[in-house]
Symmetry: C2
Subunit: 321 residues, 2 copies
C-alpha cells in the first residue's frame, strides 16, 4: 500500500475539500488536481478547485479544466479541509494567509517543508499524477476516460512524454492502462507540444540565437524586446529551458527570462548534476534535474555572471577539453 | 499468432541469413535489424548484417551496431537467404542487382511492392521493431538486455518516443517489458535527442529563420551555405521536418534540404492529411504522416511552388480564416 492509511481515512471521512495547486500551473499540477477532484466528486464529495492563475490556453483540452476557479470565499474555505497538490508549501499556491481547519499534502517534489497535517510526499514518483492514480485505485473509484486523460497528461508532462530517466516500466504500464481507458496519446502530445502560435515559434528562433556555451553549461535568454516583436508573453517560453540540453556536451541548460525587476532563471540538467542545489542558493527550488529562481540583476551579463560563479563554486561547470 | 507460419519455418530451417535494411538507416531500421541478428545468432544461425551506409554516429550507442558491414561478397550472398527489414523493395537497400536464392520481407511501410518470397508487412505496426519483438517471442528466444535496447530504440524512433498517434497501449506494455529487461529509457532518449553538436543547434536556428507559412502548411529549408557556415552536413538535419508541426494551425510541415542537383523534401503531417500521396506524385514514398521525395529544381522558390501546386490540387492546403 502506497497511500498512507491516514490520508485514505481523511478522504473518505470528510465531506468537502478545497483542492489547490501551485501558481503558474503546468500539466502535472492541472491534470492531477482535476483527476483527484473528479474522483472525489464521484464518491459524493464536494470539491472546490483553485489556482491563483488561469488555466493556460494550451491546457484547456483537459476535460474538467473549467472546474478551476481563480477566487475563493475565505469564510467558506475556513471551514473546509485543504488538499495541496504538486507543491508542499502553501505560499507556492499563493495562499499564504489562508485560514483552514486542516490540510493534506500530495506531492513528489524534493524540497520538504513543514506544511501539512497529513503529508504524502514521494520524491521518487515520476509525477503527482502517478500518486493520484494510486490513490484512485486505493479508494476504489472507477477510472473514467476524463480522469485518465488528466492523469496521462500529468505523467506525460513530468516525464517529457516518457523521455526522462524517471520513465519507469510502471510509468509505461499505468499509461498503457490509461490508453485502454480511452486516452488518445497522439492528441495529448499534439496538445502539449504542437499548439504553438507562429509568434512563439519566432520567439524561440530569436531566443536560440542568444545561445552562449560555457564549458558544459548552455545559456539562452529572452528579452522584453523579443516578446514585443513576436507578440508573445512569458507563458510562451514554457519548455524553452530544455532545448539547449539537445547539445551533446551540455550537462546544464539555462533559460533567462526578463521580468519586471530582474530575471527569472530556469535550470535543466542531465544525469547527476543537481540544479535544485543551485536554485536554493538564490532562494529558489525544484527537482534535481529541473529547478528555478529569480534575481534582481540589471542586465543579462550580471545575471549570467552570478550563476556562473555559483556553478563554478559548486563544481558544476566543467571546461571542455 | 501474428508471425506468418511460413516465416517462422524459414527462420528456423535456414542456417545463415543476409539481413539488409534501407540506405540512410534510422533508429527503427538499425534497432530492428540488430535485434533480429542477435536473436538468430542466439539460436545458432550465421548472420551477415548489411547497410549501404555507415551507422550514423548518433546511433553508435546501440549494442551490436558494429555487426553492420557496408560491403558484402556477391558470391557468398548469392548462396544465403535475404531478410529485408524496414523496407519492402530491394532498391531501398541499395541492392538492386543482387542475386539471392530466396528472400523474406519484414516491414511496416504502407507502399506495398512485389518483392519478397515471404512477405510479412504490417502497416499498422508502430515500428518494424514491434514486429521483431513479436518474432523473438514467437521463436522463443530469451530477450537479452542488448536486444531490448535495440528494440526499444526502434519503437521510440518511430513513435516519436510515444508522442505520435501510433502509440498504442501495446506499444507501452512492450516497452515496459523492455525496461524491465534492462533498457535505461533516459539514456536512450538522450542518445536520440540530446547528442546534437553545437553546430547542429546553430544550423537549426538558421533553418527556423526560413519559416514560410502558407495556410496550414509550414515550410523551412537548409541551403549549402548554412551547412558550410555551421560546419554541419545532411545527417544533422534529421527530425528538422518535425519542428514546424509545433505550430498550432499547421497540418503539414515541410523541410527542403539542398542536394547536389536539386532539393530533398521531407513532409510531416498531423491527423488525416496523407503526405505519402503527395510524395508518390514526385516518385517518392513513405507513410501517411511522414513521407519524402526529391526534385531537380534550381532554386527554393520553384521547389516550393511545385509542392504548393500539388498540395492545392490534392486539397491538402487550406487557407486560414
Amino acid at each position: 500500500l502506497r497511500v498512507p492509511e491516514e490520508l485514505r481515512t481523511f478522504l473518505l471521512k470528510e465531506k468537502a475539500f478545497f483542492i489547490a495547486t501551485h501558481v503558474n500551473p503546468e500539466g502535472d499540477a492541472l491534470g492531477s488536481s482535476i483527476a483527484l477532484a473528479m474522483a472525489l466528486e464521484s464518491i459524493g464529495k464536494e470539491v472546490l478547485l483553485y489556482d491563483r492563475d488561469p488555466v493556460p490556453h494550451s491546457y484547456r483540452f483537459l476535460p474538467g479544466h473549467e472546474k478551476f476557479k481563480n477566487y475563493y470565499s475565505p469564510s467558506l474555505v475556513s471551514r473546509i479541509p485543504l488538499i495541496l497538490l504538486d507543491c508542499n508549501e502553501i505560499e507556492r499556491a499563493g495562499l499564504a494567509d489562508l485560514k483552514i481547519p486542516c490540510s493534506a499534502v500530495i506531492d513528489h517534489h524534493e524540497t520538504l517543508r513543514a506544511f501539512g497535517d497529513i503529508k504524502w510526499i514521494m520524491p521518487h514518483a515520476a509525477a503527482t499524477g502517478m500518486m493520484v492514480y494510486w490513490l484512485i485505485k486505493e479508494i476504489e473509484v472507477p477510472l473514467t476516460r476524463d480522469m485518465a486523460i488528466n492523469i496521462y497528461t500529468a505523467i506525460a508532462n513530468d516525464t517529457g512524454t516518457f523521455r526522462y530517466s524517471n520513465t519507469s516500466s510502471e510509468v509505461l504500464r499505468i499509461c498503457a492502462e490509461l490508453i485502454d481507458s480511452g486516452v488518445p496519446p497522439g492528441m495529448v502530445s499534439e496538445c502539449l507540444y504542437e499548439t504553438w502560435s507562429a509568434g512563439r515559434f519566432k520567439l524561440m528562433t530569436d531566443v536560440f540565437q542568444t545561445l552562449d556555451v560555457r564549458g558544459d553549461v548552455a545559456m539562452i535568454h529572452a528579452t522584453e524586446e523579443m516578446f514585443r516583436r513576436t507578440g508573445t508573453s512569458a507563458s510562451d517560453t514554457e519548455n524553452f529551458s530544455n532545448f539547449p540540453r539537445m547539445i551533446n556536451e551540455i550537462r546544464i541548460s539555462v533559460f533567462f527570462r526578463k521580468i519586471k525587476d530582474g530575471w527569472k532563471i530556469s535550470l535543466r540538467s542531465k544525469g547527476d548534476a543537481n540544479v535544485a542545489e543551485i536554485a536554493a542558493l538564490f532562494n529558489g527550488g525544484g527537482h534535481r534535474n529541473a529547478a528555478g529562481y529569480k534575481i534582481t540583476a540589471d542586465d543579462i551579463n550580471s545575471a549570467k555572471d552570478e550563476l556562473i560563479k555559483a556553478l563554478t563554486e559548486k563544481g558544476l561547470l566543467h571546461s571542455r577539453q
